[in-house]
């Protein structure tokens, strides 16, 4: 995706705000922020933020492209919607955060070690396979996402939990083989493939012409 990144840099020169407006889901709202900070104060993960939402919006205006797209912060949103319901300008902050994260991923700027980015991707890949999430496979994949050794550690840490889940019928080993799936899988895949094409097409011709 490196070339898309370069293309975007070229296309939007100095205006990161315009780039966000054109390419990020709900990005056209960023300009309406009045820097009151209610979102930053409302985020339950606030204290973990390097850059809280309102600051990210300011950074976007200030053209801090890399700092924003490579920040761990945009991956920290738990979709609790506190910010959205409190924002005096009704910015869809949750979606903008997700949009930024997705855009960063498209451009290949996601910090390599960000666990949520990885998990989120796994989750998507997982559901894309059979149209429904396979918790067991997702869980296993997750344990091993940072390599085999690490995975074992995590697995052991969660072993007790795993047993309990199975005992209560809330985890099923059989899911490892086959598992729940959408019946019309072919149709499902066709639909999603098409959606992806349309999306890519839109992004490709999005935004003002180069040099604007």
């Amino acid at each position: 995706m490196g070339e898309l990144n370069t293309a975007m840099i070229e296309r939007y020169r100095n205006s990161f705000l315009k780039e966000v407006e054109a390419n990020v889901e709900e990005g056209e709202w960023v300009k309406m922020c009045m820097q009151c900070g209610v979102c930053s104060g409302s985020c339950p993960l606030g204290k973990f933020w390097e850059h809280p939402p309102q600051e990210i919006f300011m950074m976007i205006r200030a053209g801090k492209r890399e700092a924003v797209l490579q920040s761990e912060s945009v991956w920290m949103c738990t979709s609790c919607y506190n910010c959205i319901v409190r924002c005096p300008r009704e910015l869809p902050i949750t979606h903008i955060m997700h949009g930024l994260a997705h855009y960063a991923k498209r451009l290949g700027l996601v910090p390599k070690t960000n666990p949520t980015a990885k998990f989120a991707q796994m989750f998507w890949d997982n559901l894309m396979v059979k149209g429904r999430v396979n918790e067991l496979k997702l869980g296993l994949a997750l344990y091993f996402m940072n390599g085999f050794g690490d995975g074992i550690k995590v697995a052991l840490k969660n072993q007790k939990l795993g047993m309990a889940m199975m005992k209560t019928g809330r985890m099923n080993p059989k899911e490892a083989f086959g598992g729940h799936a959408v019946k019309d899988l072919a149709g499902f895949h066709k639909v999603l493939k098409k959606a992806q094409e349309l999306e890519d097409a839109r992004i490709a011709q999005n935004g003002p012409p180069a040099g604007a």
Partner: protein
């Protein structure tokens, strides 16, 4: 039956607050006949509930005394209290107004001696003090009320209290048979000065006005600071009556917020600066004040006052719209948020949080007697489509007292232009 002498050269002023009083007096003192209609039992509106004015820190009752004297002495002015305009027929230069008069149960004989209040027992929330205190069922709305005439709360009519009140009056001033009446009279122009109301703070859920005793509104704080108010001028925590030395002022409480009021209410920043001085006057060096704001709007010459307040070391200004308020174990409201200047998180406990509450226009489009041009914020726009109806003061925009009076004075001329043209037409 209340009789009103009026012609289509008469100016009808709706609302007896500072704007309505001003418009009415300016027109009357120019020689025009004016009928002033006020919903409350007395004139003065919201300014009568203020302790001080910014930026001079002088007392609203001072100017009110002058305006009331002007009103008492002016033969051109007819004042109807406990009255509401329910209808307006006709058009510019030729209206007919319908006015509903609610019974006061006290007639002009009243000498304001107060015997009836002594006689009755039932108590009610005192609306003049925004419910912070109680009043009797027979009451003088407040000490300087004009007309200086007692009122009987409709709730005591038909109860022994009503009889007690009647029995106590030596001037045959209490008339329990008084009925609501509807009158109508002509007028040439209408000045709509129904002012504003404080935005319902309970709707601002993150701040817990409805959950935490020590979160109050700026209008309530104003009553608290008034020596004649419910706490005798003491700044205290409603929860336990302890002195409120650590006070937070939260700006834009309801204003500049698409979940509440779209507009900036203009007065709140200055009002909070003023109220900061109350806290400083009360506790001096022990006062600790945090003002949380988005933009500080001390416009034009008000800047002087802002700088004066800003210079006080015990007052901190934090550029932040607080996210939420919680309550700690001893009932202190804790303000949570982020200082956006350099990103600092805070969770500050205070004795008292004052919400600088926004101004909601007291203009109800649903019940407005004629078609009227409103803006998105609900204020009346100046528009020729409004015919001979002119908004004055808080009905037209979020205005401080000075600007409201300025605007109302202009509205008086607009009305005079109409009735003067009527006059010439009739010559």
């Amino acid at each position: 039956m209340t009789a009103v002498v009026a012609t289509n050269e008469t100016i009808l002023v709706v609302g007896g607050g500072i704007s309505g009083m001003t418009a009415a007096l300016e027109a009357a003192e120019t020689g025009k006949r004016v009928v002033l209609v006020e919903k409350r039992p007395y004139l003065g509106g919201r300014v009568s509930q203020l302790y001080k004015y910014f930026p001079k820190l002088c007392f609203p009752t001072c100017g009110l005394e002058i305006n009331q004297r002007r009103a008492k002495q002016n033969p051109n002015l007819t004042i109807l209290t406990m009255a509401e305009v329910t209808g307006l027929a006709g058009d510019k230069g030729n209206y007919r107004a319908t006015v509903k008069l609610s019974p006061r149960y006290v007639n002009a004989n009243c000498t304001a001696c107060g015997d009836c209040a002594t006689a009755v027992t039932a108590q009610f929330d005192d609306e003049y003090n925004y419910g912070l205190g109680k009043r009797k069922g027979a009451y003088l709305p407040y000490r300087m009320a004009h007309p200086a005439r007692y009122v009987l709360d409709p709730a005591i009519i038909g109860t022994p209290d009503a009889e007690r009140a009647k029995a106590a009056c030596r001037y045959d001033a209490i008339d329990l048979e008084m009925q609501e009446e509807t009158i109508d009279f002509p007028c040439g122009a209408v000045i709509w000065a129904t002012g504003w109301k404080p935005y319902d703070a309970a709707k601002i859920q993150p701040y817990g006005y409805d959950r935490f005793a020590n979160v109050i509104t700026s209008v309530e704080f104003e009553r608290m600071a008034d020596p004649t108010g419910p706490t005798g001028g003491k700044l205290v925590r409603p929860s336990d009556g302890k002195e409120a030395k650590q006070v937070a002022f939260i700006q834009c409480a309801g204003s500049r917020d698409r979940n509440h009021l779209l507009h900036c209410s203009r007065i709140c920043c200055m009002a909070s600066f003023k109220q900061c001085t109350y806290v400083i006057d009360a506790f001096g060096a022990d006062a600790r004040i945090n003002v949380y704001y988005i933009d500080l709007r001390a416009i034009d010459r008000f800047e002087d006052f802002y700088q004066k307040v800003r210079a006080n070391q015990n007052i901190k200004f934090i550029k932040s719209k607080p996210a939420s308020i919680t309550q700690d174990k001893d009932g202190s409201p804790v303000v949570h948020g982020v200082d956006t200047e350099g990103y600092q998180r805070f969770a500050e406990p205070h004795d008292l949080v004052v919400l600088a509450i926004g101004m909601e226009p007291a203009v109800d489009p649903a019940s407005f007697p004629v078609p009227i041009v409103l803006n998105r914020e609900g204020f009346i726009e100046a528009a020729s489509a409004n015919g001979g109806v002119f908004a004055a003061g808080g009905a037209a925009d979020a205005l401080d007292v000075n600007r409201a009076v300025q605007h109302a004075t202009g509205a008086a001329l607009r009305a005079i232009q109409v009735v003067n043209s009527v006059a010439r037409a009739e010559v």
